[in-house]
Symmetry: C2
Subunit: 125 residues, 2 copies
DNA sequence: CTCCTTAATGAGAACTGTTATCATTGTATC
DNA sequence: GATACAATGATAACAGTTCTCATTAAGGAG
């Protein structure tokens, strides 16, 4: 009774689900409109937040703006400075790397994110 | 003749220079006022941007807001989710890690940033 | 099925951090 | 000292996001 399944929530999730791109809230809105799903902007934000909190979608910050990710599994990102595209890459750091930091700094790592900035293959041609 | 040394630029730099904290533009403003240095907000932003472009200060994004760093050398950050503090840590990834990504994805890495989210030593007590 | 509680929605205002505008100032160069 | 134009200050504009609040509709109880 504390959580309700609304059609808006489902509609927002359906846009991202299984998608390998990374969309801004506005882009999610566009997709909804394209599919004739009427959802208010504030509701889109609320649901993106909610879905992310519940580990159903991922979230990346690119220059301070939130991009939502159909893939909720931990992974890292390449960001092309020429075309702006975001690409997924597996995490590289291993348990020992993390443990070394935790032991050395007395800091408990809950999550960590690496972003690689550079130029993608397509843009180099 | 393309670059000029103004006292405002120096004042902004003096706030950050050698500082091991990470300040928002507003906090830089506060420091300036505290030291009786009158610099307009837009000028503070312009100079932070300029100093960062010229590798004189560092810049970190925390929840989308820019934090400026007296240390311009590449290093990574721990972000405590309880107290909000930012701590410096040396980069962990090595040449091979980067090269592996470049070879595998055909992506040229110019820079990369890792942020560890968690709880710092003080906040665990 | 109907009633009821309250989570969720929609529209728009408000907010926050940052950038743009533009007339004015002052730095570097001759 | 005159000149060119980079830089400044005040403030408007902007973008992305969150808040407000009246209204709607999930979904559990009877
Ligand atoms: Mn991703
Ligand atoms: Mn730092
Ligand atoms: Zn590219
Ligand atoms: Zn802490």
């Amino acid at each position: 009774m504390t959580y309700r399944n609304t059609k808006q929530r489902k509609d927002v999730y359906d846009v991202l689900k299984g998608l390998d791109r990374h969309l801004t809230a506005d882009q999610v809105m566009e997709e909804l409109k394209k599919n004739d799903r009427q959802v208010g902007l504030a509701t889109v934000y609320r649901n993106l937040h909610h879905l992310h909190e519940n580990n159903m979608i991922g979230k990346v910050l690119k220059d301070g703006v939130a991009l939502y990710d159909g893939n909720p599994e931990p992974h890292d990102h390449l960001h092309c400075r020429m075309c702006g595209k975001i690409f997924d890459v597996p995490k590289i750091l291993n348990e020992e790397n993390i443990k070394a930091i935790e032991d050395e700094k007395g800091f408990s790592v809950e999550e960590y994110f690496t972003t690689f900035e550079g130029v993608c293959n397509d843009c180099k041609k």
